[in-house]
Amino acid sequence: MPIAFCSFAVIVSMKGNAFNIGAEGQLICGAIGATLAGALFRGLPAPLHIFLCIVASALFGMLFGLFPTMMHRFRGVDLLVIFLLMNNVAEYFLQYFVLDLFKSQNALVPSSRAIEKTAELPYLIGPPYRMTIAIILVLICAVVLTWFFNRTVAGYEMRAVGQNRQAARYAGIPIGRYTTMALLLSAMLAGIAGGLEVLGNYHCLYTEISPGFGYDGIPIALLCNANPLLAVIGSVAFGALRNGSLAMQAKVGISSEIVNVIQGSLILVIASNYFIRYLLNWRRRAK
């Protein structure tokens, strides 16, 4: 499910005429925020605690996205470059955080302190499926985003900025403000993705919390033409590919590396959409 939130994050940034490639770093920071909130607050009732943790993860993700966004807006720094650098910083900070700062004393694998029981997301369907209420949050978020982009003034203006800067400027829409807003909103969503991964899945923080979820979001966002509802389906497919590879390795002995090959070729095919359309058209013309 974190993939779904990452693809939402990329979608939002794409609508606002920017490209959030830093979802990976924001996801990590969101996970850190959720872990802190989950482990440090004690004695709260469960729903309130979960809510607090999600808010914390969104806040951490946004704060992490704030610096590059501001640098982009006021100093004209290339977004791509600074986001990629920030991703690396986040990754090392996560290692520092897990191995040093917030280390668990009694764990076999290096991990951070576990979050309180009250902060864990309740199961919708119990083990072995381990389906938490995160899925409902994903659906709600998809609907809210669709509503936001299609039914509100801010969403409409953000789309306008994304589709045609010049036209938007002539229409008197503050472009810089909307790009910044889209990036911050996108960072927030990426942060929530990390938070949900901690709250629902691991209940503590590992160094390998994200095997490239942030990067998975990008092809999905393009695959579904920046439509949040379709993105849910896309992320389920990508998630199945990832989890399926582990199961395949355990049961049949097929190397889990194959999933990278499949995913990579899938992305390469998505990238060459003009050629595929040409092929389809050519078939039609031949008839």
Binding site: F19, G76, N88, V89, S255, N260, S265, A271, S272, Y274
Partner: protein, 307 residues
């Protein structure tokens, strides 16, 4: 004195792959194709180089294999971005995932584990051993380092002093004008991405055979991305890229040194952040980027794909 010189050598060793891959990326971006697949090209180059050295027993054959590996990855990127008019960023990211998967899979298939055995490498240059005073230091660097320095001058000459270079620069700013002048835009873009693939393959070969003598998964560890960043920070010129690569190399070397000696009593993870933080700081101090090719990351579609 010895300390400073060994630090200097380590700086040069660390910045060479960034510099070579950066030069390649410069060609790629100058013709207007964004290349986030540099990482994938380097992985492909490194793996093929080690494989070549393993099969033939000669390190230089390995380097040739590495070039071929980089070129294959470059050809995929060129096919998608130039011929099929795909989105550059997506193709690049996909290429990185694809190459990493294929390399790891092949590694397991050929060597039986994710680590390759030690192979013939070219870590020292015996040719320079006879140079007075500096000989003992110069011979500690791989010949590929000297090749990189030559390539740097060559790239500067090609970009700024030849017809080809002029066309490349024009293509990066306005492909339509270039086509009006009667130059085949797609062929030029193909050549640019090919050069990029070759140089990234060389950078990978250097990491596999010049720095180490084996391939293992995760070996490139973000060097390709740093090369992409170095191009932008270096303002799309070979000299700028060399400066950026040196800067990042210096911080990387200092960081490694501190990790080993542990004088400051900081955790290694904090120190590993230092080169990136330095990069961000430099980026934010700099004035607006004016060397950016205006047509970077734009799709120039062949007529038959338009409907």
């Amino acid at each position: 004195m010895d300390d400073i010189l060994s630090l200097l050598l380590s700086v040069i060793r660390l910045c060479t792959p960034i510099f070579i891959a950066g030069l390649g990326n410069m060609f790629c971006e100058r013709v207007g194709v964004l290349n986030l697949g540099a990482e994938g090209m380097m992985i492909s180059g490194a793996f093929m180089a080690v494989l070549g050295s393993f099969l033939t027993g000669s390190a230089w054959c390995g380097v040739l294999f590495g070039l071929a590996g980089g070129m294959i990855a470059g050809a995929i990127h060129a096919l998608i971005c130039v011929e099929f008019g795909g989105l550059h960023a997506i193709s690049g990211l996909g290429l990185t995932i694809f190459c990493r998967g294929v390399a790891k899979f092949m590694c397991v298939a050929v060597f039986g584990s994710t680590y390759s055995p030690n192979v013939q490498a070219i870590q020292t240059t015996e040719l320079f051993a006879g140079v007075p005073v500096l000989g003992q230091w110069l011979k500690q660097l791989s010949p590929l380092v000297y090749l990189a320095i030559i390539l740097g001058f060559l790239a500067h000459y090609v970009i700024f002093h030849t017809t080809f270079g002029l066309r490349v620069r024009a293509l990066g700013d306005n492909p339509r004008a270039v086509e009006t002048a009667g130059i085949d835009v797609w062929k030029m873009r193909f050549i640019g991405v090919f050069i990029c693939g070759l140089l990234c393959g060389l950078a990978g070969a250097y990491m596999g055979l010049g720095q180490l003598d084996r391939y293992f998964d995760g070996m490139i560890s973000g060097k390709g991305m740093i090369a992409v960043i170095a191009v932008k920070m270096g303002n799309w010129t070979p000299i700028g890229i060399a400066g950026t690569a040196l800067l990042l190399g210096i911080f990387d070397a200092i960081q490694l040194k501190l990790q080993i000696s542990n004088t400051l009593n900081l955790s290694p993870e904090m120190l590993a952040m230092v080169p990136y933080l330095a990069g961000i700081a430099v980026l934010c101090m700099k004035k607006k980027q004016d060397g950016r090719p205006m047509a970077l990351d734009t799709i120039y579609l062949r007529n038959r794909y338009k409907f």
